[in-house]
């Protein structure tokens, strides 16, 4: 907590050693960094793009970009933050090149969303309903404007702290918070039928 308020401390970055070795020319270290970050990068991209194939494609692009621009990483943030930033930019670029037709995107998501099967998927009916819910949520995410979607995905799906999101997206923390709030409100409207919950005490 204290560390967060005082700003970033590079000593705490678990990737630093690998990054140093990579920047000194060790290709294996880069491969290890890719392995270390692929899951999260893929997840963020999947939530941003709504398709497994596209997320995998953009994830590859992300790591290639990273390899290309790795020398620009100056330890001003965690390496992971740098990685997410490259990923977010790749995702935004991809979306732009696909155009802004939200309905088409939503359609795409409804059709393509293949959420990973949950653990202990024994009941086919429950499983199908889970998958349906997952698709609905993903489609609702895609219906959000990107500037709201990205902070929401990073915060509520990935659980990154505000400070890191601020650095990934390049907006102040206060703006991050207000966007998350607006994104949640929009999502709640979109998913109203899924969130009928009993009155709490």
């Amino acid at each position: 907590m204290a560390a967060r308020s005082r700003g970033f401390e590079p000593e705490g970055d678990p990737d630093l050693e690998l990054v140093a070795r990579w920047q000194a020319g060790d290709a294996d270290s880069f491969a290890l960094l890719v392995k270390r970050h692929e899951r999260r990068v893929f997840r963020i991209l999947y939530r941003m793009l709504g398709s497994v194939d596209e997320a995998a494609d953009v994830a590859q692009e992300t790591f290639l970009n990273l390899h290309r621009h790795g020398h620009r990483f100056r330890r001003e943030s965690r390496f992971s933050t740098f990685v997410y930033r490259v990923a977010a930019n790749a995702a935004l670029n991809r979306r732009r090149s696909l155009g802004r037709d939200r309905n088409r995107m939503r359609e795409l998501a409804e059709r393509q969303a293949v959420d990973a099967p949950g653990a202990g998927a024994s009941d086919p009916e429950a499983e199908a309903s889970r998958a349906r819910t997952g698709r609905r949520i993903q489609a609702a995410l895609l219906a959000l404007p990107e500037r709201l979607r990205l902070p929401l995905v990073l915060f509520d799906v990935e659980g990154l702290p505000y400070s890191e999101i601020s650095s990934v997206v390049g907006i102040p923390e206060g703006t991050v918070k207000s966007r998350i709030h607006r994104a949640r409100a929009a999502l709640r409207e979109e998913l109203r039928d899924l969130i009928r919950v009993p009155e709490e005490k």
Partner: protein, 311 residues
């Protein structure tokens, strides 16, 4: 607390981010307001939906795919001019360069006096700190005789460098405006002790690379008319040449962060300056002897051209 204030604070309340006074206010309001309670419930349920999303697994081929594409990287379109040129070099593709075209676009800076094989650069201490002289590394190639002649259309032979034509209009606005000029580079480099006759005193081996000047201040007509551009450009040029000789990888790193469209112009400028101060052979041979293909590729900028050899 007012109703709308509570609404606004609900998100932060969910995250446990409210101070104790504000939290008490919100909770008090929630205990009496059904609609805010419902709102809070729904927000929480929304967040829970998101947090409960299953984690999709990345396809198994993701990492191997990245590594494979890196291995065949030459086929991959790579960022800058310089990078593309370097890649071409790595592939062994000869890329003849009409650098004369570059010279046509740029009135290259005429640098005043040369320093007879010496390379002086300001110490990191800045004002007050004495400039230090650095001899070329002992391993330097034998010096050519005769200074490099200044010619209006300079033929810089960089046979495998990317072909490039740059004119002042194309320079990035940031480079044209010294006030918003490129960020100062603070890279430190370390000279090996005992280099040259006037070896640096022990404990003083490091020096910061001076900030990179705006390209427009060093090349082009405006620069030529602006009095003494050399004064602005020289420290950085000298620092870069020292870096090239004593920390070639550091030199590469600095070259790689040059703005894409300026890289070739800067390299031409550096090559020219290194001829002026007669370090180009030393720089070229040091870069060539570095076990890094991309560093070696940079050496071509500093190698003497046929016209120079003839002299």
């Amino acid at each position: 607390m007012r109703h709308d204030e509570v609404r606004e604070a609900l998100g932060r309340h969910l995250e446990g981010e409210l101070g104790s006074a504000e939290r008490r206010g919100v909770e008090q309001h929630l205990s009496v307001c059904d609609s805010c309670r419902a709102e809070r419930r729904e927000l929480r349920a929304t967040v829970e939906l998101l947090r409960g999303l299953p984690d999709p697994e990345p396809p198994a081929g993701l990492v191997p795919g990245v590594l494979r594409r890196l291995e065949s990287a030459p086929a991959q379109p790579r960022g800058g001019l310089l990078a593309r040129g370097l890649r071409a070099i790595a592939r062994g593709t000869p890329l003849p360069v009409p650098i004369a075209a570059l010279a046509a676009g740029l009135v290259l800076l005429a640098l005043a006096s040369s320093e007879e094989g010496r390379l002086a650069f300001q110490d990191a201490g800045g004002a007050g700190a004495p400039a230090r002289s650095v001899e070329p590394a002992p391993s330097a190639a034998p010096e050519r005789d005769g200074a490099f002649a200044l010619a209006p259309t300079l033929e810089l032979r960089a046979p495998t460098a990317p072909s490039v034509v740059i004119d002042a209009d194309e320079l990035e606005p940031v480079a044209m405006d010294p006030a918003r000029g490129p960020r100062a580079s603070r890279r430190r480099f370390v000279l090996p002790s005992g280099v040259g006759a006037g070896a640096a005193p022990a404990g003083e081996a490091g020096a910061a690379l001076p900030p990179r000047p705006a390209l427009a201040a060093c090349v082009g007509e405006a620069a030529a008319q602006a009095g003494d551009p050399a004064a602005q450009c020289r420290p950085w040029l000298q620092g870069m040449l020292a870096l090239a000789q004593y920390d070639p990888r550091g030199f590469l790193a600095e070259v790689e962060i040059l703005p894409e469209r300026e890289a070739a112009a800067w390299l031409a400028q550096l090559a020219r300056f290194s001829r002026e101060v007669r370090t180009s052979d030393a720089v070229a041979s040091r870069l060539r002897s570095t076990p890094d293909a991309r560093v070696v590729a940079l050496a071509r900028w500093f190698e003497p051209g046929p016209g120079e050899r003839a002299r």
